[in-house]
C-alpha cells in the first residue's frame, strides 16, 4: 500500500460511519447465532454455506462502500437493465422450485435476481428523482410515470415467476421511494390515485390458487389448520411460547422439533423470539429501528439529492422487509415469502442487504466531502 492508500485509510477512519457498522454487525451476529440454532436440524450444510455468502457479502459491502456513489449514479441505468435482463433470464432458464421459477443457476450456485433487482430499482429511482426541484416541478408527471414504469417492469416480471411476496415488496419499496421524492403535491396526488388502481388490477387478475388460499387463511386461520395457515399458527405458537426470556438458545421446541417449517428462510424471527423471548425480540427489533432511523439521518445529511434518495431507498428496503416479515411471523399479515434482512438464510438476500448497507455507508462516508 502506498502512502496514498494510507491517506485514504486515515480519511476513511475519520469519516467512517461507526454506528452504522456496529448496528449492522449486531444484527449480523444475532442472525448467525440464530441461524446456527435454526439450521441445526436442517438438511445439508446451510450454515457453512451462509458463512461463505457472508464472506462474499462483506467484500461486496466494502467494495460498494469504497467506490464513490456518484459512479453508481452514472451506472444506474446499466445496473438496472442488467438486473431486469437477469430477471427475464430467470423466466426463461430459471430453475423451477415448487411451481415457480425464482432461481438462476450459475455453476451450482443459485441466485435470486429478484433480490438483486431491488438495488437496481433503488439506484434507478434515486437517479430519476434527483433532478433540480424546479425541473422536477416542471416535469413532475412525466418523471413520476417514468419512475412507475421503471418500478413496474421488474415487479411484473417477478410476479410472473410467480413470486407474489417479492413482487409486492418491491412495489411497496419503490412506491415509497416515489412518494418521498420531492415532487409537487398535485403530481403526487395524481400518482397516488393511479397506483392503487394498478395494484387492484394486479390482485384481481393473476393470483395463484395457493396465494389466494394464503390470503384467505390469513383472514380466517382456522379454515385450513394443516395447510397454509399451519405455518402462521405454528409461528405464533413459537413466538408466544418464548414468553419473557425465551426457552434458551438451541432449546426452542418449535424450532428444534421442526414444528416451524422452513424456519431458517422466512421464519427466523420466530426461532429467535422462541429461544430469546420478548427481551431478545425487542433487542433485535431495536437494532432494526436504529438502522432505519440512522439511514434516515444519513439521508437528511447527504451531500446531494441522489445520495439523499439512495439512503431513503435503503431505509425503505429495511423498513418494509422488517415490518412485513415480523408482521407475517406474528400473525398480523399474510404469509408471503419476505426475508428478514441479515437474519434469514439465503445468499441473494444477504448479498442484497449488505450491498444496500454498503451504499448507505458510501453516502454516509461522503456526506462532508465536496
Amino acid at each position: 500500500m502506498s502512502s496514498l492508500g494510507g491517506k485514504a485509510l486515515a480519511k476513511l477512519r475519520a469519516q467512517f460511519d461507526w454506528p452504522l457498522a456496529v448496528g449492522t454487525s449486531a444484527i449480523l451476529v444475532i442472525g448467525l447465532v440464530n441461524l446456527y440454532s435454526a439450521t441445526r436440524v436442517a438438511p445439508g450444510k446451510l450454515y457453512s454455506q451462509q458463512l461463505t455468502w457472508l464472506g462474499f457479502g462483506l467484500v461486496a459491502f466494502v467494495v460498494v462502500a469504497a467506490i464513490d456513489y456518484r459512479l453508481f449514479e452514472r451506472l444506474a441505468p446499466i445496473l438496472y437493465v442488467a438486473c431486469v435482463v437477469l430477471l427475464l433470464a430467470v423466466l426463461v432458464f430459471g430453475r423451477s422450485v415448487k411451481g415457480s421459477k425464482r432461481w438462476l443457476g450459475i455453476a451450482n450456485v443459485g441466485i435470486q435476481p429478484s433480490e438483486m433487482v431491488k438495488i437496481g430499482v433503488i439506484l434507478m429511482l434515486a437517479k430519476l428523482g434527483s433532478d433540480e426541484p424546479v425541473e422536477l416541478r416542471r416535469r413532475g408527471l412525466p418523471t413520476i410515470f417514468t419512475m412507475l414504469g421503471v418500478l413496474l417492469v421488474p415487479v411484473v416480471v417477478i410476479f410472473l415467476e410467480p413470486d407474489l411476496g417479492t413482487s409486492l415488496l418491491l412495489y411497496i419499496i419503490g412506491f415509497s421511494m416515489i412518494l418521498l421524492t420531492p415532487f409537487w403535491w398535485g403530481h403526487k396526488l395524481t400518482a397516488f390515485l393511479i397506483a392503487p388502481l394498478i395494484a387492484l388490477m394486479r390482485l384481481s387478475f393473476g393470483l395463484k390458487l395457493y396465494q389466494k388460499k394464503r390470503l384467505m387463511t390469513f383472514i380466517d386461520p382456522s379454515s385450513d389448520p394443516l395447510g397454509a395457515g399451519f405455518h402462521a399458527r405454528q409461528s405464533v405458537y413459537a413466538i408466544g411460547s418464548g414468553r419473557w426470556t425465551g426457552k434458551g438458545w438451541l432449546h426452542g421446541t418449535q424450532n428444534q422439533l421442526q414444528f416451524l417449517p422452513e424456519h431458517w428462510t422466512d421464519f427466523p424471527f420466530a426461532v429467535w423470539a422462541e429461544e430469546w423471548g420478548l427481551l431478545g425480540s425487542l433487542a433485535l427489533l431495536g437494532c432494526y429501528l436504529f438502522l432505519i432511523l440512522w439511514a434516515l439521518g444519513v439521508s437528511a445529511t447527504a451531500r446531494d439529492r441522489f445520495g439523499q434518495l439512495l439512503a431513503l431507498g435503503v431505509a425503505c428496503l429495511l423498513f418494509w422487509h422488517v415490518v412485513i416479515n415480523i408482521g407475517m411471523v406474528t400473525g398480523v399479515m399474510p404469509v408471503v415469502g419476505v426475508t428478514l434482512p441479515l437474519v434469514s438464510y439465503g445468499g441473494s438476500s444477504l448479498m442484497t442487504v449488505l450491498i444496500a448497507l454498503g451504499l448507505l455507508m458510501n453516502v454516509s462516508i461522503r456526506r462532508y466531502s465536496y
Binding site: 416541478r137 418521498l180 405458537y237 408466544g240 421446541t253 423470539a273 425480540s281 439523499q308 408482521g327
Partner: protein, 654 residues
Amino acid sequence: MIPGAEGAASGGRGYRLLATLAVVTFFLLAARLWYLQVLRGDHYYRKSADNFVKEIQLEAARGQVFDAHRRLLVDNRPAYNVYVTPRFVSADSLARLATFLKLDSDEAAHLRARVADVKETRRAQQMLAFPDITRNEMATLESHKAELAGVAVDARPHRFYPQGKLAAHTLGYMNQVGADELAKQRDQGYRLGDYVGRAGIERQWESYLRGKDGFERIFVDAKGRVKSDIDAFEIESFAMLHGEPRRQEPEPGNNVVLTLDMDLQRMVERALARHHSGAAAMIDVATGRVLALVSHPSFDPNVLTGRLTRAEDERLSKDPFRPLIDKALRENYYPGSTYKVVPALAALEDQLLAPEEKMNCKGAYELPGHTFHCMKSHGNMTQHSAMVESCNIFFYHLGERVGMDRMAKVAEDLGFGAPTGIGLGGEVAGFIPTQEYYRSHGGFRIGYTLNTAIGQGSTKVTVLQLALAYAAIANGGDLYVPLLVDRIEKPSGEVVQAFSARLRHRLAATPENLARVRSSLCGVVNEPKGTVFDFRDPDLPFEVCGKSGTAQVRKNRKGQVAGWDTGNDQAWFAAFAPAKEPKIAVVVLIEHGGLGGHVAAPVAMEIFRGYVAQQAKANGIGDGDGNGNGDGDGNGNGKTRPRAKAKLKVKAGR
C-alpha cells in the same frame, strides 16, 4: 442542498415525520410481541408443549366377570391392535395399511373418514384403527414399519369371552365408542377407539369394570419421531405448566361376580337348543337369585367385540330367530294359561269363589256377538280342576266375576306390568290392561276381560317376570327383585360391594290362597288329568308343579322360516320344584313352539333333571350351594373363596 418543500423528506420536519412513522410502526410490532409473549405467553407455551407431547394411553385392565362359583365368564387376552395418530399418518401410509390388512374398499374408506374426522385437538392422540389383528398381519406391519408413518401396532388386552355364546345376552359385548358419544360424554374420559360395554353386564357395570386408564407422555418431533433427549428443562417446565405427572399408572377395573351358575346356564341352553327360538329363566325362589337366564339362539360376543364385518353384522340382525334380542327380558309375550294364577288368586282373595264351588263347562261361552270356546267340554269344574285341566270356560266365568281391574291389581302385585329391576338395560315392562286402557282405545267390552283371564288380549309379560311371580307363589308370597350380581370385587379379591336378596314386596294374597294355587299347580303335573301329566318325569326325586300355556299369536304374521311357523302358538311352561319345599322356579318359553304342555314342559323337565344332576355333583365336591348342606368352603379347586352370601330366612313352603 435541501430538497423542495413539497417532498416528505423536506428538511428536518419531513424527516422527523418519517422517523416518527417508523418508531410508531415498530412500537406496534413491539406491542404485538408483548401481547403474544407476555399476555398470551403461557397459553402459547402450552400450545407449543401440546405439539411435542404425545400421550400414550396406558390401558387399564378391565375387570373380569365370574359366575357364582368364581369361574371365568369374561376375561381379557393379549391382542395386537393397530393404532393411528391422525396428525402423523399420511394418505400413503393409510393406503398401505389397508393393503396389508386386506381391507376392502368400503372398510378402507371408512378408516380414512374416521381419521379425517378427528378433531384438531385430538389429532396427536393415538386412535384405535383396528383391534385384534392376527399374528401374521402383525408381522407384516412390523416388517413394513418404515413405510407406515403414524401407524403403530401395540399389544393390548382385548375383551375375551372364553365360554363363547354362553349367557351372551346377560354378559353383553363391547365395541368402540363413537364420535358422537365422545362429544356427549366428554367428562367421562373416553377416548377415540376406546371400547365400551354395549349390552348386558358389560354395559350396566361399565363404570365398575372399566377401571381408569393411565398415560405416559412422550416427546415427539413434527414427524412423530420419538425424542428421548428433550432437555430436562422442557420436561420440568412442561410438568409445571400442566400440573400433571409424566406418567400415571392405570387403575384396573373391578371384577363382577354373578349369581349365574355356569353349569346350570349351559344345561338350560342345551335344553332349549333343539328348538328354533325361545327363552328360559331359573330363579332361586328363596332369594330371587338368578341361576340361569337364557335367550335362544345366542350370539358369540367375541364376534361382536372384534372386527365385526358388515356381512356378519347383517347376518345377525337379519336372522329370523333374532339372536341379538334377549327374549328373557327384552321381549313381551302373551302369557296364555300361565296367567290363570291371576284370576284364580283374585277370585280367592275376594272370596268371589268358594274353593269347592263348581262351574259347568260345556265347551263354549256365549257372549252377544261372539262365542268363546274351550278345548273340550270339561263338565263340572272347581278352581283346582279347572287349573289342572286348563279349562278356559271356568276362567272366563271367573274373569267376569272379578273384573278386569281387579285382575290387573293382582297381576301388578305379582310383579307384572313393570320391569323386574334386574339391572340389565332395555328390560321391558310387559302390559297389564285395565278397563281404562280399553276405554281410551276404542271402548271396553266384556270380551276383553275374558281374554285377559286366560292371558290373551292385550296382556303381555316377560319370561323373567313370570319366573319371579311363580317364585313368589312358590315361596309363600315374597316377590323378589331378581339378583344377578352377587358382588363387586377389587382385583385383589377385596369385596367392594356385596348384594343381598332384595324383597320387592310381599304379595297381598293370603298364605292359604297361595297354598291353594300351589296345590293346583302341582296337580297340573302330577294328577292324571293334568295337562302336563304325560310329560312329567317320574324319575325326578321330587314333584314338579307348574302351569302350561299355549298363547295364540296374531296369525297375520308372514311366513314360515326354515320350517318355523311364525303363526304357531307360543309354548309356555312356568314351574317350580320341589313341590314340598320349593327351591327353584323355572319358566320356559318356546317361541311359536305350539302346545305348552307338549313342547315347553319337556324342556322344563330336562332342566329339572339337569338341576338335580348338577346338585348331586355340587354336593359330591362339597359345595352344597343352597342345598341345606351348609356353606362348604373348600370346593374342588382347593381355593377358598370369600362368599358374601346373603343370610336369608327361607320362607318357602310355609
